[in-house]
Symmetry: D3
Subunit: 255 residues, 6 copies
């Protein structure tokens, strides 16, 4: 049914290469099918003005595409002199999602800058960015944790994102590539934690609508994808997994 | 439980004043509690460059707040020289939502510009904007329809938006005002049609998460609110209701 | 002679609704014929950098129009990314005019931000803005005065503005609406005090000129309008009038 | 009484050097005391989009200062990325003033670009710009007229500008320099024609006001200055004066 | 003598991976030591407005760095809303250099967009960009050539770039890395062709100067580097080398 | 051979008028043939943020052209809202060149702002700017030196710039005017000191290349021009020459 032969609830090929660049505190190259994103995490020893003196940290994200990440060349946002609405939506989403699983008090007055730069796009760049950025951020915060910067390990849970949608002739499917995205009646991005909680849910019927039962089917499909993605993250993170697992247990006990 | 004594699934006071301004083809002042938004619909006899020659219409929206719509004065976006990410997100949402219930082929190569200007803010400005904009747009399109501009009445269904959320000490509630919004663990904006279909679902746990059961409770609560809001829209629209009802029946038959 | 039947020195219908919005320290909705402007006054507890340490206050104004305040929709200045020359001229005029009747030393290091947002335009928006802004500012400063923020009441005189012009077929007329403005050979905006002094005089012959005798006739006509406008301001200000009157007597004695 | 010993109605030293630059169709260096402005007129063979097809010409002006035209260095507007409100006011004024004495139909669909660049500032830069720009424009239009571009000579009258003001300790004075400008209670810029008609009148009491009798005294003083300035323009224009005189006679007959 | 043990005229490790991305007509990842740049070539079927109708092609380049390509994070130029002077200099240089070896008439009215995005920086990013961009451009033009788009193969010669400099304690050296660049008294970028001709020479003594004999030594050293770089380009280009060689012979015969 | 009859190594007419403006600490009008540039030097008692606390001074430059300095009018960069790549390249070059001959430690924490405003352009505006700016800067620093602001005279050597190029039909020539520049195969700008050292060398073959022997011929030709230009600078500088000569001797002894 799907143009590339996948099952409805099957992800594309996933690969996460850690420490991809030499300068950043954390970096990965995440590959989701033909979508490739460089995610880096940079630690700055101060917070934005509106947060100074609160003793809390901050996580913020920026997102961009190389001009020729796509089938036809896009004009650079630096040349246009302004960031598009789409870019702003995506980078606000990435930052918000990551903050949901980080103990900002534990970080202290530091900012973690997440940069997601899409070098090749084939659908799902924002969810690949979140999934990759979680790993890059974990690498950076682990580095600081090992240097005794924190009182406790600050990552409270795993976090991954994927898309689901209703595609013409294929119905509800997981992890849409560009071809499916173009034929989608409904497009939904879902960010979830390792404990199965929702962090963000954005469903849109572009010039279309969706019913309550379609919504339920999409939610179930997404959960399958999220669990698999977290599996790939754990493989990439190595023994950092121990710290996150411990903290996750602690958190679930407190609720 | 709620600071203003409302039931969990009770809207604030709603008022929709139609033909509020003399120049626009359609205009309303919508009041949702202390939130007040002027919504206008302006018809332009051409479409954006990327759509020319397709024979279809377009609907686009802009959103702004007066500097002192809020408790402390905000710097104008015109003075800053750029539109914020929040504004862009909102105006993209409004346009996308309205396009879901309009037959763009029926309009022909025209653009309907929706302007939502918040003159007083107390939470829920984006959902009030959508609910009001639907009425302003209906007034404008009805005017063109009466002048025989269209082959058929172009509005396929009602459309309204509201917010639901999980608020500390109050649980799942409908139509959050500013005080509740500030205390919300989860904030969800929902856009639905008169036929009970979803158009847009945006749920966010800011530095928090939500469970599947909380999600279901929010969805049920939202539906109550949407139905009530559509009731207010029908009162405001007068006999335009007949055209929309006819078209809605036609649409449901086709699906 | 005039297209709406007014006498040459007759104002349009004037209405000033005070405390129009809940958040600002002072606010009015001023209606001059079909021209409607929301004027707000917001008090900030600091002055711009170039004035710090002088112990004086500052009054500054911003002016904007809703996109569809006019017959055809205007592009928002926030979308264009810059404020037009016309807007800058008007907001500089409003601020300068108000400062002429305020004792800035008495205010201390505070800034009063005036925002004039035109929601419906039919000519004379800048003069309506000044007339309305004077009332909004008076409400805000009175509020601070009652809280013992000032050593003396800081408003030294009334201030209102109107337009006069030479219109084809109608001669010298007061308070031009949009139709008259479009047919005007000469357009003059005049700001005056309650004591009959000039604060600002801006007369322009767009692709035309005017003689000394036409100038004198316009000045006389304007004075009639200003006096009537100040009457409406006094009605709106209630017992704040007593403070202004006392200060006005004091000022005239000192000159 | 005046710090430089001038009589109240005495201009500073005036010098107008024509054909100052080799590229522009018309150019002057105008010197008013220590204020020096390069004024150029460039002719473009088309009009702005909003005027196309009307068969009329257009005159538009731009104004700028070298960064060190003033006592302390100003940041360039190109570095700031935007033109200030003051600059916009001035360039709108220059263009509007010149258009009042030009027969735009006679020019046909051409634009005359006026550029006024202040290389040294000592007060009165906007009025010096208008007075100089009139000469530069006349040189350019004369050149086109001699090439038979026009059906009739398009300049209908002379045009000059000066300032008057009420200065502390000196009273009403003509042509304020920077020192006087800084001590002025009232500042008025006046643009007049060779026939003694007003084109523009802009009087401002910055944190001050002025009476009707002060206004009359300023108007009389300004007229003396304008007449003298037009004398200097005539000397600079040489035999172009004949064409303007003829057209001026023609115009006064038609009124 | 050099901190990494290289000889004065020794390049760093060079690697050129062709067809690095799936969408662009030509793409490479070039590695020069720790400097890594993605170079893409995109073909657009039109030329800029100023060249239309001349029957010639155009080559233009853009250059950017990922925020964390460097030791500390740089703010994105899209966030700053403008492109820096350094970026503009570099992208103008890249485009100019490539145009020197391309027969623009042979291309016809097409634009080749070169994008050089530095993902990791360790000195010499602009010269690595040129060397990599030449290969990416060759891949793209070869693809069009094979599709019979051109009358003749349009690349007239090889082109590569490197840096030489005078470094404290090391003297004249080739291909400076970041550590050497920081200690350089003189920095020179040289672009040369396969035939040993200069295309661009930019030598700068930052807060220093250089003598005629130092200049000669730098020129000799650079030539060694350029020849080696062209060897790596030939390896990467495969049988495209035949086309360039043929054209190079043809060109040298014509001179 | 040259269109204006000059010998290949002959400069155009050079004139340097010092103290051209009354406000700046140093100013000249430099004339090179028909190219005229106003160069000013302004001293600010602080350095940019990145240099604070280092006890060193800074020299920075800005460059601009009047809109009608050229044959056809250019749009102002302030109107476009951004500075072009060409302007940035030039102003970076001017600042870098001047810093090479100034003892920044001797200046202390001051910034010298150089402004080069081209009022008439006929080729070679950037080199004329550097040559003129050196004189303006020397005048300003001499003024501070006489007021005992410095421990030692801070200018270490003379500095001038000129262009050489390979022009069709004329071969290697010095100081290209606009006509020659348009016909140049190679364009090279050279900045040198009074001691014959290179400060900056920028040679470009626009859609062309140049050989090693052409390079040598250009270098020899440039040196003639630089020496002559420094002669004109010395004439303009008067007895400031003594201070520079003394410092130059001191510097050459130290090397």
């Amino acid at each position: 049914m799907r143009h590339d032969g996948r099952n409805p609830n099957e992800l594309r090929n996933i690969h996460i290469e850690t420490n991809y660049l030499k300068h950043p505190e954390g970096s990965v190259l995440i590959t989701v099918g033909d979508t490739k994103v460089i995610c880096t995490a940079s630690v700055e020893e101060r917070v934005p003005p509106f947060m100074r003196g609160e003793g809390k940290g901050w996580i913020t994200a920026e997102y961009s595409m190389l001009p020729r990440a796509t089938g036809t060349r896009n004009i650079r946002e630096s040349s246009k002199g302004k960031v598009s609405g789409r870019t702003m939506e995506i980078q606000r989403l990435i930052g918000r999602a990551l903050r949901a699983v980080v103990d900002l008090e534990a970080i202290g007055e530091k900012t973690v800058w997440i940069d997601c730069d899409v070098i090749q796009a084939d659908g799902g760049t924002r969810t690949a960015s979140i999934t990759g950025a979680f790993v890059a951020m974990s690498l950076a915060l682990d580095k600081l944790h090992r240097k005794k910067n924190f009182t406790s390990f600050p990552i409270k849970d795993y976090l991954a994102a994927t898309s689901v949608g209703v595609v013409k002739h294929a119905g509800v499917v997981l992890d849409l590539d560009y071809v499916e995205d173009s034929a989608a009646l409904v497009d939904m991005n879902i960010v979830m934690t390792g404990s199965g909680k929702f962090v963000e849910l954005q469903g849109t019927g572009e010039e279309s609508t969706f019913s309550a039962s379609e919504l339920q089917e999409m939610l179930i499909t997404a959960e399958v994808g999220i669990n698999n993605l977290i599996g790939f993250q754990k493989d990439a993170l190595g023994d950092i997994v121990n710290f996150i697992d411990d903290r996750q247990v602690l958190e679930s006990g407190q609720k």
